[in-house]
């Protein structure tokens, strides 16, 4: 069962760039060994930590989006715990959350299109219609007269 996970790990600021890339290749090999794939890698670079971890005040953040099984993530988690260079890491499953977000977006789009059509407008928003909030405020049209009556 393949699922989508996000892995963020914080590398000690003393680590060189090679060590960071080395860590990445290490994770990559683990992922490939267990039939997963890395969808995206993002290096956020060096950031200040919000609080001290150990004696560190800074850290290099790396984000990986991984497709794989739970066992794979367990293995990665275990390995990252062992490596002293990684001062913090977090694994989060994201596929379910993403699905929910997409569904809400789609549903909202549908409703808006339906309402616009019901009001006799083209289904998509036109440029120069003003702010979204302004349009929503006009929903109260009890006292509105038709354009032709005015």
């Amino acid at each position: 069962m393949n699922r989508k996970y996000e892995l963020v790990y914080v590398v000690s600021p003393e680590a060189s760039d090679e060590q960071v890339t080395d860590l990445h290749t290490q994770i990559e090999s683990t992922v490939q060994k267990m039939n997963g794939q890395i969808e995206k890698t993002e290096n956020w670079g060096r950031r200040k930590l919000a609080y001290e971890i150990g004696r560190h005040k800074e850290g290099t953040y790396v984000l990986e989006v991984i497709n794989g099984t739970g066992d794979l993530m367990k293995e990665i988690d275990r390995r990252l715990k062992v490596i002293d260079l990684v001062i913090r890491h977090l694994v989060v499953r994201v596929d379910e959350e993403q699905g929910v977000v997409e569904r809400t977006k789609a549903r909202r789009g549908d409703t808006s299109r339906r309402r616009r059509v019901a009001r006799g407008l083209p289904p998509e928003r036109q440029p120069g219609e003003g702010q979204r909030g302004d349009v929503d405020d006009d929903r109260d049209d009890r006292f509105d007269m038709g354009e032709e009556l005015r």
Binding site: L49, A50, R88, L90, K105, D136, D137
Partner: protein
Amino acid sequence: MNGRKSFGGGGRGKSATGQQGKDGQRRPMFRRRKVCKFCSDKIDDINYKDVRMLMPFVPERAKVLPRRISGTCALHQRKLRTAIMRARQLALIPYTTE
């Protein structure tokens, strides 16, 4: 024209106005109805990586801003809480300030 303030989705419901106290004292305080920021801005995913979005909800002492103050709806407050807790684990947001 009705004098309603233009606000995202919060058109429904009465705005919280001053009420009459028990002893007949008038409270002239007028409170504008709070609206969930995530509902009105149509922000669907509250992500732990987006620190700039989370920061307004963790004031100086780095505690989570309560719903009664921010006006966030229950669903989004829950999501916000998980996002803040995750960001804290990664030292993106402090647990507390000295």
